[in-house]
Each structure stands twice: as C-alpha cells, then as structure tokens.
Symmetry: C2
Subunit: 254 residues, 2 copies
C-alpha cells in the first residue's frame, strides 16, 4: 500500500549528483539536477556560472547533525540539495520551537545576515546534501550580480512570507486545522519536486511535527488518528497517504 512512499523516502535527486564535495570552481549549479525546483531557475548560462563561483562546497549531513547553530558566526547560506532539514530556536529553559522544515531546492541560514550570527539551529532530519554558498562572495559578484541579487531577494522574501503563514497557523488555527494545513503543504511541496501528491513519508517524529505546529506530540498523534478514522488519510508511522484531499481542505473551511 505504501510502497511508493517507502521508496521515495530515499529522496535522491532525479539525476545522480555529480562532483560532490568538489572544489569551488566546479560547475555545480550549471549541471544541478535540481534546476527545475532550484531557486536558480530562470538564470542565464552566464549567471549560473556566476552562481557557481560562489558555491563554496557541498556538505553531507546525517540525521541529527547540525548545519549551523544559533550564535555561530554567519558566513554562508545553504541550499538543500537532497534530504530534509529543520530549523529551530531553543530557549534557555530548554523549550524548543521548530521554525521550519526545508526540502530540496529550499534555502537556509538567511537569518544570519542580520547580526552576523545565526539566530537558529539547522539540523538534518536524515542524510542530506547541502550546497554551501559564500555570502561574502555573493556580495562581491560583479558580472550577473543583478540577476543573482534579485534571486537572493526573492529567496529572502519567500522566507518572510513562509514565516507569516506559519504565524497565521500558530496564531489562529486549532489543532485539526494545523495538521491538515501541514499535510496539504507537504503534498504541494512534494508535488513540486515531482513526487506523488498523495503519498509521502514524514521526515519528522511526532514531537518534531508538534513543535513545528505548536502542539504536543500526543495532540498530533490523536489528530492523525482522527483523520484516519474519518477516512481522510491512511497512516502507518511516518508513511502517510492522503485519501480525501477535499476532506482535508474542508477542515480549513471551518
């Protein structure tokens, strides 16, 4: 039943990732298999080459490894190439809030520009490949700077919009609406990546999902169970299949 989703869990780029961990000047962006979803889509050949010149390297992370941590000196922004990342803020008293879930083609670390130090932790939710983009060099691009700068601005802005929507969710939705929104959002993003809109694998524990949605893990679990009981989804651990999208959407329509 959930076989397709299971294979998808691997979540490898469609084409093999060539020249991993290569030196700075390797044409990573030009030949990137993520071009379709990568923010760099829309750039010209020369502009892509420009972009390549600022890609410092690739990084590989395993489950739980940090890409950066709150307070570390900001030097680079990061692009998810494969795998999943989460960002979170931690309070002194230990409470933590997952502030974002990042999929291939999405960008991380822009919160570090403000003060020169990252404001959040970024942690891998499984094996992940990450493009490391030197912010320093990005600033000093000469050729093609216009297009690349505009791209960067769109990325910044997209992040702001994403966070606004998260605030809407956290500030004015009840548990069922939050979880439904979460599932529908995942579905969209998987679709954009060329995967099934209806069948996928959550990459987070119930606790992480809860933290992202501002709920306790038990509430997440109960809500998923209720959705299942009402025939909206099928759940098996982290495998999810959306059975009645309209039903999920209906929950949002109050």
């Amino acid at each position: 039943m959930l076989a397709e989703a299971a294979t998808m869990q691997e979540f490898k780029p469609v084409m093999p990732v060539a020249r991993r961990m290569r030196a700075t000047t390797a044409p990573i962006c030009e030949s990137c298999s993520l071009r379709a979803v990568c923010p760099s889509s829309g750039l010209s050949k020369t502009e892509l080459r420009e972009l390549d010149s600022v890609v410092l390297s690739q990084r590989r992370l395993k489950l739980g490894q940090a890409l950066f941590r709150s307070g570390e000196a900001f030097q680079a922004i990061y692009l998810v190439r494969s795998g999943f990342m989460k960002t979170m803020i931690v309070l002194e008293d230990g409470r933590e809030q997952v502030t974002g879930l990042y999929m291939p083609g999405e960008m991380l670390g822009m919160d570090g520009v403000a003060s020169g130090r990252y404001a959040s932790d970024a942690v891998a939710l499984g094996d992940s490949d990450i493009c490391v983009i030197s912010y320093e060099r990005l600033q000093h691009l000469e050729e093609g700077a216009g297009a690349v700068q505009r791209l960067l601005h769109r990325m910044f802005s997209r992040e702001i919009v994403r966070e606004q929507q998260m605030m809407l969710l956290l500030g004015s939705m009840r548990a069922e609406e939050r979880v439904a929104t979460f599932l529908l959002n995942l579905s969209e993003r998987f679709t954009a990546l060329g995967f099934s809109p209806s069948e996928f694998v959550l990459r987070m524990t119930r606790e992480e999902i809860g933290s992202l949605l501002g709920l306790k893990l038990e509430t997440v679990s109960r809500t998923l169970s209720r959705f299942h009981k009402h025939g909206l989804i099928e759940v098996e651990g982290r495998h999810v299949r959306i059975v009645r999208v309209a039903g999920l959407r209906g929950i949002l329509a109050h």
Copy 2:
C-alpha cells in the same frame, strides 16, 4: 502618573520633519531625524545620497488607512518615519492574524518581493509618516550599491529573525509569557527610540494585541489585569507603566 506616556503618544520625531511630501530628489535621508535608529545608520554621506535617490516620496496615513494590501502589485518597500503600523494576514473566512507591529525606523513590505504582490495588509495604527522606497530603483543603484544592498539584506534578515521569535512566542508560550514578552519587547523598542523604557502607550486595541499574540482580547485584558494585581505593571486603557521589570522577566523564566 501616566502623563509622560500621554505626551509620548504623539510620537513625533525629535526634530521636525522637513520637506515632507517632497519630490524625489530632496535629501530626505541625509537630514532624516531618524538617523539614530534608521536602518540607514552606518552609511556614508555619498551612500546616503544614493539612498535618497530611491526614496520616491513620503506618505501620510491616518488610523485605519492601508499602506498596501495583500495582492496589490509590489513596487516599493516602506520605512516608518513616525507613527505605528501593523501588518496582518486575512483568511477567506474572515479570521485575521496580526503578524507585525512596526515602529519608527522599521521597514515594511519586503514580503512583496517574492511574488511581485504583497502577501499581507499594512494598516496605520494612528497618524503615520512613511518613506516610500522604490524597489525598482533600489535594484538599479550603481554607486554605493554595495553598502545599500548590504543594508537591505540586513533588513530582510532582521525581519526573518523577528518572525522566528514571533513563531517561538506563538508556538510555545502561554498567555502570561506572551503578554510579558510583548511588553518587554515594546519597552526595548521604545528605549531604542529614546523614550521611557517603563512607561508607554499601546497603540493597539486589546483585540489587535490579542491577534498579534494569538490570544483572544479577553485573555489579553485578564492577563494585563493580573499583572496589575501582582504589582508588575499599571494599566489605564492603553497607557502602561512597567513597575517591576524583573517581575515580568521572571514570568519568562517559567
């Protein structure tokens, strides 16, 4: 008792704002009274002049008037010169979420860069003066572009960090913590503007505060009353005086 706060409600810049509503080339930034808190602090004279060249005009808003609305074509970003603004997202079903409160020196509208349309509504919380900055021209700055671009990036990033902190508040704090955080945050920002850290005027109704904090207006009211009962603050409508900062901070320390 709350006299100082009452005068402060006017919230005029320290120096008179010269050449309001003037043509594009007026040296608004160079002579801006907000320099101390304005994001443009740190720019050189020439860079300031550059910045001036992108300031289209000034806009004056009254209570309830919109600076931009969700869906409108994005053309400019805005800087609050005097007064207060709020941003909000509205759902089809009418529910709305205040996503931000903006004071003099703070920037609005960057969410429009992503899609070319604003993603939120910006509404004045009272008489306000706003700098209108052409995004188009900002992009095409030649001289001094480096410094101005860096400045813009910091602004973007600061907004991202601000929203992350809002998510933390909305996702993992209880009502008392939210209100205490709100008051302490206001206190800091007023201080930065040269006003009293302990005595100020809320510019929003209880309902707006509630929406910003993800609470109902009654909860806001009750929480403020409770703070008052415990001798932490004094409240009289929108006039607030913080009596025991340590007490408020203590609430955050669980």
